[in-house]
């Protein structure tokens, strides 16, 4: 059972990392335009010679 002493904090830390990452994505407005983001990847970059 002593393994729990470090396993639980590790599990919580990893979960917390995920939570922090999610909250960061919300804060930075990455869910404001879900349709646009899906389409933007298909837009060709403007190249120098074009």
């Amino acid at each position: 059972m002593t393994a729990l002493i470090y396993l639980i904090p590790i599990a919580l830390f990893l979960g917390g990392l995920g939570l922090a990452a999610f909250i960061w994505t919300v804060r930075s407005g990455q869910y404001d335009d879900l349709e646009g983001a899906a389409e933007r990847i298909l837009i060709d970059d403007e190249t120098e010679d074009s």
């Binding site: 059972m1 729990l4 599990a11 979960g15 909250i23 869910y31 404001d32 335009d33 389409e39 837009i43």
Partner: protein, 733 residues
């Protein structure tokens, strides 16, 4: 692309850092290609620093160095690219970064994280109940759970705690009161148990409760945001600008609200009159269909009165404002709309009605449980409190909180796919309750535009030649000819005489297309003015003249839709502002027996009020400005996507396309949604009937509470999802 271009200058914001910013609602952007075209096109204008299009909301934000370009260049560019754009009024636009939605999403994330991690610990505790886990390990598990649950609940429970606090302060009780009470009591009890090395703790139940309820809350919020975005979009379309003629004859763009009485305004073809006024110079054909519902345009000249909202069709006019926007007919209508909407906001949602019954019942049960255990048994205070809290937790309206929003999200998503935009969740509930449908005629039962009626009797050659003249005109009859003939060349030396017709040279011969007396055809003296305005004559050189007849075609599937509504024992009535003869014609075609014609907007409301006083719940379907007040005061309302902006703003549902069948679809889906919601409530009640006795008599363990709660939530959600796959038998396609 000769559509009307708005000058957005009055709506540009000048920021202190020397930049200007403009937010525009752009219509017609649907794909990545549109993003590239719009952002590239606008970004290439000199001086523009950044252009960013949000495809989900259709909002384009442009910023540029102040003075580097005229804001009009942006809308003109968008128009050239083929998109209709209207500026958002920065004053009217609430700071819409959707802070509330982000807040709920953060709460949801924290609750989800906490629920998942506490559940891992709880499952271990439950599994070790038969003695494999020692009391010390169990205590540690509980302490770790507490360390996660307490801060998580304090963070994620805020939406409920706040709302419960406001309600209690106002002396009311809402759904959030029992929720907050259950969460707080469950957590306190669990901490107490942990301190006393007890066996059972409800940390998982408390946090999971929050998690499920937040899902419901978030869905509900999303739905409301979507409808608010639609409303703001329509508001932008109404934020019209006008060209005012200065004392020295120079033109300036002003916001319609800045127009004063006596101002002279330039009205180009394609412009709508921003305020009430009269014609000061010029003569033109005026389309009044959105204001009065009459489909044929009227010819107006100096001194004639123009109502706000009428459309100038053929030639440039100068009008003198006789009222400001606050005093115009448009503003009167807006006020009527607002009064109607206030009536609507009194509607109590199904979920709230259920909660009003449910909350007192559950609280008295919990109290009875406490009293019963405390006085009738010798188990003591601790067991009595434990069981009373178990009752509160197990009855907490988790399924109730999810029951309505989940169904409404699925139903609106489904209707959206069928081309029906639903403006709010309770609109669905209201539409399901109606027992009468009232239709407007022009633009609602009909398409609202004239089409060529006697094409089969006209030689294709005559049609093609008439179209050579018609292409030069914006008049509805000319447009109908062009629509029938397709694309082709333009005649030479074309000249339009407002109120009469178009003339020009075809193969060297003089040709005229227009009114009978102007073309030179003897008219039937018995024929009235109205039927003359729905026909036109074409004459080329010495050849015999050709008669073109036009009609406002009825929408496809109109009679089927009306018949299907009647089959469902719904009364159908038609109210029209148009004259008797065309109204009777359309009513016969659609199969409507009850109809009235020659009605003013006030008459329409009066008829609605009369029916409402008899206890009839009405769904109004209309498109004109004259229908907007009726739309707002009806129990539920629908309008086609071609309707006046004010009407679309007032309606609960906006449907696209040339068919009337979306009305039926919306009615069917709303009824299905209502029965799903009621089923969900019934299920929640059934679940409580089973679970409450267990809780009252002290058999509920944290494991049972967790299973019951997630089980009921999942069943309610699955029942809601059934709605997305149903197919109505014999649905009109």
């Amino acid at each position: 692309m000769n559509a009307h271009v708005v000058d957005p200058t009055p709506f540009a914001q000048h920021l202190p850092d020397g930049k200007s910013r403009l937010e525009l609602s752009v219509h017609g952007a649907h794909c990545g290609g549109c993003i590239a075209k719009i952002e590239g096109g606008v970004g290439s204008l000199t001086g523009v620093g950044a252009a960013r299009l949000n495809l989900s909301t259709g909002k384009l934000t442009v910023s540029w160095r102040t003075g580097a370009l005229a804001p009009m260049a942006i809308t003109r560019k968008l128009n050239d690219l083929g998109y209709r754009a209207a500026p958002f009024d920065p004053k009217a636009l609430a700071r819409d970064a959707d802070e509330e939605g982000k807040f709920l999403l953060r709460c949801l994330a924290v609750a989800g994280f906490a629920a998942a991690n506490i559940m891992l610990l709880s499952v271990a505790v439950w599994a070790g109940h038969d003695g494999e886990m020692g009391p010390a390990t169990r205590a540690m598990m509980h302490w770790v759970s507490a360390a996660i649950a307490l801060p998580a609940a304090a963070f994620a429970g805020r939406p409920f705690f706040r709302s419960a606090y406001t309600a209690l302060k106002a002396g009311r009780a809402n759904m959030d009161v029992p929720i907050s009470l259950a969460v707080i009591l469950a957590l306190s009890l669990s901490v107490f148990e942990t301190l006393n090395h007890g066996r059972d703790a409800y940390f998982d139940a408390a946090v999971m409760l929050l998690f499920f309820l937040l899902i419901g809350r978030f869905l509900d919020h999303r739905l409301r945001m979507r409808s608010r975005a639609a409303a703001q979009d329509l508001l932008a379309m109404q934020a019209t600008t006008a060209s005012r003629l200065g004392a020295n004859g120079q033109l300036e763009a002003v916001s319609a609200t800045d127009i004063g009485v006596g101002d002279k305004l330039l009205l180009s073809p394609g412009d709508r009159a921003p305020v009430d006024g009269e014609i000061a110079e010029g003569a033109s054909d005026i389309d009044v269909s959105l204001v009065t519902g009459e489909s044929a345009p009227a010819h107006m000249t100096i001194g004639d009165k123009l109502h706000a909202g009428v459309l100038n069709i053929s030639s440039r006019l100068i009008m003198r404002a006789t009222a400001t926007t606050d005093e115009s007919l448009l503003a009167d209508l807006t006020r009527l709309i607002e009064t109607g909407e206030q009536g609507k906001s009194k509607y109590v949602r199904l979920a709230d009605r259920a909660a009003a019954l449910y909350v007192p019942l559950v609280h008295s049960l919990a109290l009875a449980t406490f009293l019963g255990w405390f006085f009738l048994s010798d188990a003591g205070l601790r067991v009595a409190v434990m069981n009373a809290v178990a009752v509160l937790i197990i009855t907490c309206p988790c399924a109730l909180g999810l029951a309505a929003p989940a169904v409404q999200v699925v139903a609106t998503g489904r209707l959206f796919k069928e081309g029906v935009l639903v403006k709010s969740g309770d609109a669905l509930e209201r539409l399901a309750e109606v027992d009468a449908f009232i239709f407007d005629k022009t633009g609602t039962l009909t398409l609202g535009r004239l089409t060529l009626a006697n094409q089969e009797t006209i030689a294709p050659e005559s049609l093609a030649k008439a179209a050579m003249l018609a292409r030069a005109s914006r008049h509805p009859l000319a447009r109908a000819i062009v629509a029938a003939a397709g694309s082709g060349p333009l005649a030479k030396d074309v000249y339009e005489t407002s109120g009469c017709g178009v003339e020009g040279l075809i193969d060297g011969a003089r040709a005229r297309f227009g009114r009978a007396d102007w073309v030179g055809v003897a008219t039937d003296p018995g024929q009235d003015e109205a039927s003359q305005s729905s026909e036109a004559w074409f004459q080329l050189g010495d050849q015999p003249s050709v008669r073109f007849q036009f009609e406002d075609k009825i929408r496809t599937h109109a009679s089927e839709t009306i018949a299907a509504l009647k089959d469902q024992h719904v009364n159908v009535e038609m109210l029209s502002g148009d004259r008797k003869a065309p109204a009777r014609h359309i009513a016969d075609l659609a199969g409507i027996d009850q109809w009235r014609a020659n009605l003013s907007p006030m008459d329409k409301i009066a008829r609605l009020k009369e029916l409402q006083s008899q206890g009839v719940k009405i769904a109004m379907v209309g498109d004109g400005l004259n229908d907007a007040p009726a739309l707002a005061s009806a129990h539920a309302s629908l309008s086609p996507g071609t309707a006046a902006d004010a009407s679309q703003a007032a309606a609960d549902f906006v449907f696209q396309g040339a068919s009337l069948s979306p009305v039926l679809t919306a009615y069917d889906v709303s009824q299905k949604a209502r029965s799903r919601i009621l089923e969900n409530f019934a299920f929640a009640a059934l679940y409580n009937v089973c679970a409450i006795p267990l809780a009252v008599f002290g058999f509920v363990t944290p494991l049972i509470a967790a299973l019951a709660m997630s089980g009921s939530s999942i069943i309610v959600t699955l029942n809601a999802l059934r709605l997305s796959s149903y197919h109505k038998e014999g649905a009109i396609r």
